[in-house]
C-alpha cells in the first residue's frame, strides 16, 4: 500500500510505501529512495512496538477520521495525514478551489461565552475586544483581527461553544 503522509504544520509531502513481508514485518520505502525493514506489533489496544535492526520504538496511534491520525512517538504528538494515492489525485483536482474565509474570529478552545462586547453592524477597530470566553476558569478575550464592521455575531452570552467554532465575522474595512 502506498500512502502520502504529511505532518501537521509542515507542508512537505512524503510518499511512503508499506509492503508486508510476513511475520509482522514490513518493508517501508520512503520517497522512493530510503528503505527500512520494520518489525511491528500491537500491544494491548493501540500501542505499537516497532523494531528496526534492534532499535526499539514505542508508538501510539489514534484517530482515523478523514485519514487524520494522531501519532505519539518519543513523547511528541504529531498529526499525520495519510491518504492513498487515488484519494490524493481526487483531492488535487478538487483542491485549491475553496478559498479561506477572511474576518472569521474562531476559538481554538471550547468554552462558555461570558460576554459579547459587539453587535451586528457595529464598527470595530483592530484589537478591539469582541467576545470573552471562559473554560476551566480561564477567561479568554477575542479581539478584532483588523478594522472593519461586524458582519455577524454567531454566539450569545451563556452559550457553550465547541473548539473551532466561529464567534464573530468581521467584514474588513477598505
Amino acid at each position: 500500500m502506498t500512502y502520502i503522509a504529511t505532518i501537521e504544520g509542515i507542508s512537505e509531502e512524503h510518499r511512503v510505501e508499506v509492503i508486508p513481508v510476513g511475520d509482522d514485518k514490513f518493508r517501508v520505502i520512503i520517497n522512493g529512495n530510503q528503505e527500512l525493514l520494520l518489525d511491528v506489533r500491537r500491544h494491548g489496544c493501540c500501542v505499537y512496538s516497532v523494531l528496526k535492526d534492534g532499535q526499539s520504538y514505542e508508538l501510539d496511534v489514534d484517530g482515523g477520521g478523514d485519514g487524520e491520525y494522531s501519532v505519539l512517538v518519543g513523547g511528541e504528538h504529531f498529526h499525520i495525514n495519510i491518504m492513498d494515492e487515488m484519494k490524493k489525485k481526487l483531492l488535487s483536482i478538487l483542491g485549491e478551489a475553496a478559498g479561506v474565509a477572511t474576518g472569521e474570529v474562531t476559538t481554538a478552545m471550547p468554552g462558555m461565552v461570558v460576554r459579547v462586547l459587539v453587535q451586528e453592524g457595529e464598527k470595530v477597530e483592530k484589537d478591539q475586544p469582541l467576545v470573552i470566553l471562559e473554560a476551566m476558569k480561564m477567561e479568554n478575550e477575542f479581539k478584532a483581527p483588523c478594522d472593519g464592521v461586524v458582519k455577524s455575531v454567531k454566539v450569545k452570552e451563556g452559550e457553550t461553544v465547541e473548539a473551532n467554532a466561529v464567534l464573530v465575522v468581521i467584514e474588513p474595512a477598505g
Binding site: 508499506v18 500491537r42 489496544c45 508508538l59 489514534d62 511528541e76 462558555m112 477567561e139
Partner: protein
C-alpha cells in the same frame, strides 16, 4: 479522631484527601455535580452525594447544600481541599455554627489572610518585609494615580485573590484600563469580590514559599521551602523543594518569619507563606495561602511528613506529631502539574475525553491524579488533572527521574502539559537554576518551534497506522473512509471480522 469526613472537592485533590482518609481508617464521603457523576473521586469515596448542577456556584460552591449534605451523611468534619470553598471564611463560619469541624485554619485567620491587604498589614506588623504597594483596595482612578507614584511596571492584584486569578502585570499606563477590566471580571467570577490593589513589580522575581504546620495549641514547624517560579498566567506549573537559591540560614530566617506571621494571625492547620525573592536573595512577603497547596507533595517527599494527615490530626485537636528538630529535608523533589491545556497554543484549555492513559511508576515517582482512561475532563472546572512528583538524592537525579517518568507518561484524547515539562527538564537555564517567573514567556515560547519530526518518525508513524488499519479496521475500507471515535470500537470490529462470531 473523626469517624467520618466529607471531602468537599473534586479531581486529584479530592482523591488525595480520600486516600489519606482510607489510610487513617476514616470513613470518607464526597460530593459531586451533574457533570461529575463519573469522576474518579465519586468512585473512590466510601460515600458520594449529589449537590447540584455543573457550574461550581450551583454545586461545589453551594455552601448550604454542602453543609446539609455533611449533616445528613453524619460527617464530623469537612476537608475543603484547595480552590472552591477552601479559603471561604463564610463557609468556615457556617461549619462552626453547625458543629462541623472545618479542616483548615480558624475563620478569623482566613478573613485576615484572605484579604491580601490585611495580610500585608499583619505581615508588616509581624516584622516581615513586604513589597512596596498599597495596603487598601483601590478604585480605578486611585489605581492609575498610585501606579504612577510607585512607578511602572506594577502588579494589579485581587484583594481576595489566589491562584493567579484577577492578577495582571501592567507595563505602562496605556495597558491599565483593559487590565483593570479583565482583573476585576476574573476576580468577580472567581471570588465574588472585584476589589483590587497594587504592588511594585519585582524584576526577575522568584517565587519561594514556606510550608508551615501549626496545631491548635500554637506549636508550629516549618517544613522547608518550595520554589514555584515556573508559572503561566501567574499560576504555578512546576515546583521544587529545596530551592536552588536557599541556604540553611536563609531557610531558618524565612521559616521563622512565616511562623511569626501565622502566630500574628492566630493561625493553625497547614498553611503556606509565599514570598518573592529578587536576584540578591532579598525576600518580600507576598501572601498567605490558608489551605492545602496543590504543590504540597514536593514537601511531603523531602520531609516524609504527610501534610494532609497532619491537617486532619490538627483539626481533630491532636498535637503536632513533630518538632522542628524532627524536620529533616532529604534529597530533592520536583512537581510537574499536568494540566488539560495545549502548551504549544498559549496553554489554552483542552477539555475532552481521555481515550488512553499510561502512568509512570518505578523508583522515586509519585502520581496524584483525578482522571482515568475513559474519563471526561469537563470544561467547567480547573484544568489540573494530575501531578507528577519525582524525588532524587539531589536535584540532578530528580531532573533525570522527571525526564524518565515523563517519557513513560501518556495521555491521549486531550492536550496536556506533558510535552512542556519534557522541554523544561532539558532546558539549560532550568538545569542551572537560572530562571524566574518570566521563564515561560521568555524562554519556553522560543522553544515552541523546535518540533521538527524526523523522516524516521514519518516511517514509524505510517507503518503503525498501516498496522492499526490492518488490525482494527475493516480490511475493505480505504484508510480515509474510516471514521474512528474510539480505538476500542475499531478493535472490537477487527476481532469480530477475525473470529467471525458476529
Amino acid at each position: 479522631m473523626f469517624r467520618k469526613i466529607l471531602v468537599a472537592n473534586r479531581s486529584e485533590i479530592a482523591v488525595r484527601i480520600l486516600r489519606a482518609c482510607r489510610e487513617m481508617g476514616i470513613t470518607s464521603a464526597t460530593v459531586y455535580s451533574d457533570v461529575d457523576r463519573d469522576a474518579l473521586h465519586v468512585r473512590y469515596a466510601d460515600e458520594a452525594y449529589y449537590v447540584g448542577p455543573s457550574p461550581a456556584r450551583e454545586s461545589y460552591l453551594n455552601i448550604e447544600r454542602i453543609i446539609e449534605t455533611a449533616k445528613k451523611a453524619g460527617c464530623e468534619a469537612i476537608h475543603p481541599g484547595y480552590g472552591f470553598l477552601a479559603e471561604n471564611a463564610e463557609f468556615a463560619a457556617r461549619c462552626q455554627e453547625e458543629g462541623i469541624v472545618f479542616i483548615g485554619p480558624p475563620k478569623e485567620a482566613i478573613v485576615a489572610m484572605g484579604s491580601k491587604t490585611v495580610a500585608r498589614r499583619t505581615a508588616r506588623a509581624a516584622g516581615a518585609p513586604v513589597i512596596p504597594g498599597t495596603l487598601e483596595p483601590l478604585s480605578d482612578e486611585e489605581i492609575v494615580t498610585k501606579a504612577r507614584e510607585i512607578g511602572y511596571p506594577v502588579m494589579l492584584k485581587a484583594v481576595s485573590g489566589g491562584g493567579g486569578k484577577g492578577m495582571r502585570l501592567v507595563e505602562n499606563e496605556s495597558e491599565m484600563a483593559s487590565a483593570i477590566r479583565m482583573a476585576r471580571s476574573e476576580a468577580k467570577s472567581a471570588f465574588n469580590d472585584d476589589s483590587l490593589y497594587l504592588e511594585k513589580y519585582i524584576e526577575n522575581p522568584r517565587h519561594v514559599e514556606m510550608q508551615i504546620l501549626v496545631d491548635k495549641e500554637g506549636r508550629g514547624v516549618y517544613l522547608g521551602e518550595r520554589e514555584c517560579s515556573i508559572q503561566r498566567r501567574h499560576q504555578k506549573v512546576i515546583e521544587e523543594s529545596p530551592s536552588v537559591l536557599m541556604t540553611e540560614g536563609l531557610r531558618r530566617e524565612m521559616g521563622e518569619v512565616a511562623l511569626k506571621v501565622a502566630r500574628a494571625a492566630g493561625y493553625y492547620s497547614a498553611g503556606t507563606v509565599e514570598f518573592l525573592m529578587d536576584a540578591n536573595r532579598r525576600f518580600y512577603f507576598l501572601e498567605v495561602n490558608t489551605r492545602l497547596q496543590v504543590e504540597h507533595p514536593v514537601t511531603e517527599m523531602v520531609t516524609g511528613v504527610d501534610i494532609v494527615k497532619e491537617m486532619i490530626r490538627i483539626a481533630a485537636g491532636g498535637d503536632l506529631s513533630i518538632s522542628q528538630d524532627d524536620v529533616q529535608m532529604r534529597g530533592h523533589a520536583i512537581e510537574c502539574r499536568i494540566y488539560a491545556e495545549d502548551p504549544f497554543n498559549n496553554f489554552l484549555p483542552s477539555p475532552g475525553t481521555i481515550i488512553g492513559m499510561r502512568l509512570p511508576d518505578g523508583p522515586g515517582v509519585r502520581v496524584d491524579r483525578g482522571v482515568f482512561e475513559g474519563a471526561v475532563v469537563p470544561m467547567e472546572y480547573d484544568p489540573i488533572i494530575g501531578k507528577l512528583i519525582v524525588w532524587g538524592r539531589d536535584r540532578v537525579e530528580a531532573v533525570e527521574r522527571a525526564r524518565r517518568a515523563l517519557s513513560e507518561f501518556v495521555i491521549k484524547g486531550i492536550k496536556t502539559t506533558i510535552p512542556f515539562h519534557v522541554r523544561v527538564m532539558e532546558n539549560p537555564l532550568f538545569l542551572s537554576g537560572d530562571f524566574d517567573t518570566t521563564f515561560i514567556d521568555t524562554v519556553f515560547k522560543k522553544m515552541e518551534g523546535e518540533r521538527v519530526p524526523r523522516l524516521m518518525d514519518i516511517a514509524l508513524g505510517t507503518v503503525a497506522v498501516h498496522k492499526y488499519l490492518e488490525d482494527v479496521a475493516p480490511k475493505t475500507a480505504s484508510p480515509v473512509q474510516v471514521h474512528a471515535e474510539s480505538p476500542w470500537r475499531l478493535y472490537g470490529r477487527k476481532l469480530q471480522l477475525r473470529t467471525g462470531l458476529w
